[in-house]
Amino acid sequence: MKEAAINSEEKIVKTFCFSCRGGCGVQLHVKNNEIIRVEGDPDHPVSKGTLCPKGLAIKQLVHHPDRLKYPLRRVGKRGEGKWEQISWDEAFDEIATKLLAIKAQYGAEAIVAGIGTGRNHNDWTARFCNHLGTPNANDPMHFCMGPRCVASYINIGIPAPNEPHYNATNCLVAWGRNEIHSHPSIGRYIFNAVERGSKLIVVDPRLTKLASRADIWLQIRPGGDDALALSMIHTIIGEELYDKEFVTKWCYGFDELKEHVKKYTPEWAEPITWIPAEKIRKAARLFATTKPACIAPGVAVEMQVNSYQTQRALYMMSALTGNFDVPGGNIVWVPPLGGFFLNCDNDVLPPEQRAKALVGGAKLIGGHKWGPPNFVLEGPPLWQAIMTDKPYPVKALFFMAHNPMVGLPNTKAVYEALQKVEFLVVGDFFMTPTAELADIVLPNATWPEKNDIGWFTTPLEHAQFHDKDAFAVYAWVKAVSVGETKSVLEILNGLAKKMNLGGFWETPEEAFNMLLKPTGLNWEEFKKVRILRKDMIWKKYEHGLFHTPSGKFEFYSNYLKDLGYSPMPEYVEGPESPLSATTMLQSYPLVLITGARIPVFYHTDQRNIPWLREVYPEPLIEIHPDTAAKHGIKEGDWVWIETKRGKVKQKAKITMGIDPRVVHAVRWWYPEKSGPDHGIWDVNINIVTLDSPYDPGIGSPTMRGLLCKISKVEEGK
C-alpha cells in the first residue's frame, strides 16, 4: 500500500518549452515528481511534435544534481564559496531589510535590477523597480533586440521589431542572423521558403549552412553593416528600384534620404565591407526587384557601436521597396494581450526618479518615453557608479536569470563592480560565476516547475506565430517541483509583500488573471484553452499604425535631430577596427567576432547538460587554414586570443568558412570546474570584448568586430 502511494502513475503533462524563448509544444512524462521522458507535442500547431535538443534534454537540466534548490546565505568571504541554507522567509526578510535600508540612506536609485535575457520575467522586474522607486532595471536590450525596438520606434512610432515573414516571402535577406541555429524550430519555415523558390541573400562573415544555400552570400567584414546597408539604399534609390507609390504616400523624408545616400556608393563601400561593388549592386537589385521580400536582421548588427541606426537602415530598405507590413515582407505582429510594455506600471515611478536612470549619456534608453525603464545601460555607467559613487552610489544589485560574468563585455570591469557592491542578490538555476559572488542566492524555477503565461512584451522571433500568421500566448503548466525553487514572479510577490510595495499579488495566478483580462478568460480557463492567438492584420498603416510625428514611416527623424543625433543613419566605423585603428592593427592584425549561436545551448546556459555538452564539449575558435598555418596552429590546438583587455584561450577549429583576416570565438564557462570562477578567466571571450565607447544613443558595446591577435598556447605555459 505504502509503495503504491509513492509510486504515482506516470502522467503526461502538456505544456510549452521555454529552453529558449521558443514556445514549442511538449509532453512531459512525469512519475514520482520526476520528468522521465520528453516528447514533442504533435497537437502543437507549429512545432508539430518536433523539438530541438534544448527541449529534449530538459529533464537533465531540471533534475541536475547541481541545481540550486534552497535559498543560500553567504557565510565566508565574497566568492569563497561558503554558504548556509536559509528559509525563504529568512531570505525575503534579509533582502527586504537590506534594500529598504539602502533606499532610506541612498535613495531607491542605489538599487539596480539585472534581468538577463528573459525567462519571461522582464516586465515583472520593471514593475517591481517602478514600485520600489528605482529607474534602474537592466535587461540586455541595449545590445540585443532593443536596437530593433528603438529603430522601429523612430521609424514608425511603435517599439516592436519588424519581423521577417518567412511564410510568404520570395526573397529573404538573413543579415547577421543564423536563425537555423538561434531558433532551430523556425528553420523549417526558412527551408520551406527556399524550396518554394524564394531567393536567399545571406550577410554573414561565416559560411553557415544558410550561406551555402544563398543566391548571393555577402561575406561582410564584421563592422561593415552600416556601410553595406547604406550602399544598398544608394543603389535602390539611384536605380529607381524603390516603390514610388508607397514612398510617396506613406514615407517621410525621402528627398533628404536620397540626397544623404548619394555619397554612399557601392564603390565607396567596397573597401569598408570587403564586398565587391558589383556584388553589392547585384544583391540590392535582387532584393528590390523580387516581391515580396523581407530582411531578417540579427543581433550581430546590434553588438556594434552604430547599432540602432544600422537597424533603422535595414528596416528602411524594407519600407523603400514597399515590403512593410505585407505578407512576405517585414511585419509587426498583433499581440493578443494588448500592446507593448503595458504591465510595468510605468506611471508609478516619479519623473524625478526616472530622470536618474543610469544611461551614461545615451538618450534613447533609461525610461525613455516609448518603453519601461528596463532598458538602462548595464555597462560602464553602472560599474562606474558602483566603483566611484558617481553620479550617485549604487549599493545593491538584484539579478535574476542573469550571468553578466559570462554574458556581458569586459568581464574584468563586471568582476570589480560585483566584488565591490555592498549587497548582491542572484537568482538562477545553478551556481554561476555571477551567483558565486552573491550575498544571497535564490533558486529559480525552470519552466517545467511553474505555471506561467508565455507572453512577451515585444513580439520576437517565436516559432509559434509562423503557421498561420497569428501571434500566440500560451499556458505553461507546472509539472514537477524541485527543492524549494520559485519563479521570479513568486520571488517578487514575496519581496513586495515584505517591503510593503504595491503592484504585486499573493499568487502568480492573480497576476495571470490581470494579464488575461482583455481576453475575458481567467487562468483556470486559459489553462484549458492553452493557446490564444490573434490573427494578423496586414498593412496596419492604413489603420493608423504609424505613430511618428509625421504620421508616416520616417526616413528622416526630427525627433532624433532634436536630441542631437543624426536624423538619418550614417556610416560610423567601430572603435577597434582595421580602418579606425590602423596603428593598433600592426600588433592586433585580426578581426574578432564572438558569440555566434550554438544550437545546443541558449546563451550561457546548458554547458552542464550532459547530452548537450557531448555535442559541443569545448569552446572553439574558428580560424582560416592560412591564418592557422601562419601561426603554426593545428586543429584542436589551444589558441590564445588577445586584445587590449587581456587574453583567453579556446580550441582551434580550422575552417574555410571564415575570412583569413577574421576569427570567431564562442561564449563559454565550465560549470563543472570549481568556483568562484568556473574557468572563466581561461576561456570566457567576454574578457577581451569591449564595453566602451558604446553606441551614443542606446549604449551598444562592441562584441563583434574587434582587433585581436592569436598565438598557439605552448605546453607548460
Partner: protein, 191 residues
C-alpha cells in the same frame, strides 16, 4: 530510412532524441550529425550537416565479425543487437570486432554502463506501438523519412534517382546499406 540532408540544419535534435530513447550515458552516440565542409568542391561550396547512424546493411559486416552471433537482422530489415548475448561475452575475447568491421562513420557504439555494444535499432520499441522512431518524429526539418524500401525508392526516384556518397564519408561498399542519403538540391556555386 532515407536522409534528405538538404534540409538538415545541424541542430542535433535527432542525436539528443536518440540519447533519450536509449537512455544513453555520455560516450555512445548512436546517431551523430557530421559537419561536411565548409570546403570547395569544384565550383561548389559545400557546407552540409549529415545525420548518420547505423546503416542497417543487408549484409552487415559487424554481424559477420561477431564471434557469438549477437547481431542479427530482423524480418523488417533492422539490424539488432542481442543485448544479453553481447553483455555475456567477454570483450577482451571478442575485441568488439563489430566496431572495427563497420566501414561507416558511426560504427556500433560501446556502452560501458551496460557493457554492451549498441547501435540504432530504428526504435523498434516505438515501432511496436505504432510510433515513428524518435529521431524521425523530433526532426524539425523532416530530414529523416522512415518507411519500407519501396516507399523510399519512390521518393528517391522523384528526386532524380540519385543517392550519394559525399566527400567519401559514405563509402560505396557491397554491404548494401538500408539508410540512404539524398544529395543536396542547391549547393552554393562560387562565382
Amino acid at each position: 530510412m532515407l536522409i534528405d540532408f538538404d534540409r538538415c540544419q545541424g541542430c542535433n535534435a535527432c542525436e539528443v532524441a536518440c540519447k533519450q530513447e536509449n537512455e544513453l550515458p555520455v560516450g555512445p552516440r548512436l546517431k551523430q550529425v557530421l559537419t561536411i565542409g565548409p570546403e570547395k568542391v569544384g565550383r561548389k561550396l559545400i557546407m552540409e550537416y549529415l545525420p548518420v547512424m547505423c546503416m542497417h546493411c543487408e549484409n552487415p559486416p559487424c554481424a559477420a565479425e561477431c564471434p557469438v552471433g549477437a547481431i542479427t537482422k530482423s524480418n523488417r530489415g533492422i539490424t539488432l543487437v542481442n543485448e544479453k548475448k553481447c553483455h555475456d561475452t567477454n570483450k577482451d575475447v571478442c575485441k568488439k570486432a563489430c566496431i572495427s568491421a563497420c566501414p561507416f562513420p558511426v560504427p556500433p557504439q560501446y556502452n560501458p554502463e551496460k557493457d554492451i555494444v549498441q547501435m540504432c535499432n530504428m526504435c523498434v520499441q516505438r515501432l511496436a506501438k505504432g510510433e515513428k522512431p524518435s529521431c524521425v518524429k523530433h526532426c524539425i526539418n523532416e530530414v529523416i523519412t522512415f518507411g519500407t524500401k519501396e516507399e523510399l525508392a519512390k521518393i528517391i526516384q522523384e528526386r532524380g534517382n540519385q543517392t550519394i556518397s559525399i566527400g567519401g564519408v559514405i563509402p560505396n561498399v557491397a554491404c548494401r546499406p538500408s539508410v540512404l542519403h539524398l544529395p543536396a538540391k542547391k549547393p552554393y556555386t562560387v562565382s
